[in-house]
């Protein structure tokens, strides 16, 4: 017994194509909205939570403005900017990348220091290791099989994590446990999925789910690693340089500072 359709494959194909065409036809058009001023921000992955809030606050103050962040590792973002990516503002995780963009003639203004990152050591709750009691030496506990850090070769938070372990005299002992994420977001994924029982992440990431719900954290002593001074720069290709300057000013101004502080970034004093 054969289903009748197989004798006419053309009809079946036509029916499938027709169904797809119906699904793809756009619905009735929306009423025209006033033109938006858009701001494309290339941002380091550690900013994912705080930038959402910064953008929201800025948009509320400036109706008709839309901040559109793109997150990535700083090396990748720089390569994209080198190749003409249409970003208005760059917010990095270190000083070097902003200075480099400026030196390469891709920036409009001077690099500016907007925040200093703070590192915490997060430990998964099932590991039964309390980082508040054991501090940095938590990572040496046998219950910690894997420690996720950002790749020090590409990420400032990874450099900081590695140096903090070295300062604590633990690096050699735990080197075999280290797994490297290409960005802080990947570090969070390694921790969140339970594959790494400890992770070095920006403080802001440890404050909220999923990590807040799945473990505890201790602040890594700030003197034990090079300060994560985060610089930004307005880009030369900005379509709306004035808007980019305004947002950069907001991030560094009282409104931005309050939000950055709530996300546990240290603020520049200069």
């Amino acid at each position: 017994m054969r289903p009748s359709g197989t004798e006419r494959p053309f009809l079946r194909v036509a029916a499938v194509l027709a169904a797809m065409a119906i699904l793809l036809v756009p619905g009735p058009g929306r009423p025209a909205e006033p033109p938006m001023r858009k701001l494309a921000v290339a941002a380091s992955a550690n900013l994912r939570l705080v930038l959402l809030e910064l953008a929201g606050a800025f948009e509320r103050r400036n109706p008709g403005v839309k901040v559109e962040p793109t997150y990535g590792a700083s090396g990748m973002l720089q390569a994209q900017i080198d190749q003409g990516a249409p970003f208005d503002l760059y917010l990095g995780a270190d000083r070097e990348s902003a200075v480099r963009l400026h030196a390469a003639g891709l920036a409009l203004g001077q690099p500016f220091h907007y925040a200093t990152g703070r590192l915490v050591l997060w430990v998964a709750a099932p590991a039964r290791v309390d980082p508040n009691v054991l501090g940095m030496s938590s990572v040496a506990n046998p219950a910690i099989k894997r420690i996720a850090i950002a790749n020090p070769a590409v990420a400032p938070y990874g450099v900081a994590a590695e140096q903090a372990l070295r300062t604590a005299g633990l690096l050699d002992a735990v080197k075999a446990k280290l797994v490297l994420g290409e960005s802080i977001l990947q570090v969070v994924q390694f921790a969140q999925s339970g594959n790494a029982q400890a992770a070095f992440v920006p403080w802001s990431m440890a404050l909220v789910p999923p990590l807040a719900a799945q473990g505890r954290y201790v602040v890594v002593p700030p003197g034990s690693y090079p300060a994560i001074e985060q610089y930004g720069v307005v880009l030369g290709r900005a379509r709306d340089p004035q808007l980019a300057e305004e947002f950069a000013g907001f991030v560094r101004g009282p409104g931005g500072r309050t939000i950055l502080e709530r996300h546990k970034y240290a603020l520049p004093t200069d």
Binding site: K145, N151, G181, Q186, S193, N195, A196
Partner: protein, 220 residues
């Protein structure tokens, strides 16, 4: 040049290809001959790894390998260490990721085998298994080789899945494509290009050799 990464990539590609020949051929043989009404479901499942972006597939594999999934828990209790961040984990991920690249050409080649030859073999009293190896497989060999080559090449260049489940450990999970990406991230384009060029040259050679072998007459 990261020699360790190079060795790792080729090892991973070779083992994935062998594994998918072992797993993929029976699946393809079943797909080629089955008349089960739900067969399209199986075909769709085999093709699904093509649909998900590699990093998304990698993320779910990462979760599946972790202690939050029953599979991950079982693996950890049996082998004492999690599958993620290990070579075995990469191998499993690569097998899933390259499944359609092996099974689809295999199945296409096997369904092109003239059923009369298979039936003739059966009527002569040759077992199904022996018929498969002595009749179907030699006839389908070009397609099977093509599938194996695709699998090998696909795994060699695999990036997103390895990135997600690998953890970038030297000598264990840092494959060549990860090493190239790291070099790019460090804006070290010279190293990246050198490594990429080498990968291309070696792969080109492997592909040329394999495709020229395929031109030889197949013995029945």
């Amino acid at each position: 040049m990261d020699v360790e990464a190079l060795r790792l990539s080729f090892e991973l590609a070779a083992l994935t290809t062998v594994a998918l020949l072992v797993i993929g051929l029976p699946v393809a043989a079943w797909l080629a001959s089955s008349r089960w009404r739900w067969k399209p479901m199986v075909e769709a499942v085999v093709a699904l790894p093509l649909v998900l972006p590699p990093t998304v597939l990698g993320f779910y594999l990462l979760v599946a390998m972790g202690p939050m999934s029953p599979f991950g828990r079982a693996w950890i209790s049996i082998f004492g260490r999690p599958l993620a961040f290990s070579f075995e984990g990469l191998l499993l991920a690569s097998i899933v990721y390259s499944l359609p690249f092996a099974v689809q050409p295999f199945a296409a080649a096997l369904s092109a085998v003239d059923p009369r030859l298979v039936e003739a073999s059966h009527t002569l009293g040759v077992s199904r298994l022996a018929t498969f190896f002595r009749v179907s497989l030699p006839i389908a060999a070009p397609g099977v080789i093509a599938g194996a080559v695709l699998t090998f090449a696909h795994t060699l260049g695999e990036f997103g899945v390895v990135l997600m489940v690998g953890g970038n450990i030297r000598g264990e999970t840092r494959t060549l494509s990860i090493a190239i990406f790291d070099a790019v991230e460090q804006l070290d384009y010279a190293t990246a290009s050198r490594t990429a060029l080498f990968l291309l040259a070696v792969s080109f050679t492997v592909l040329v050799v394999t495709y020229s072998l395929r031109r030889r007459p197949v013995l029945g």
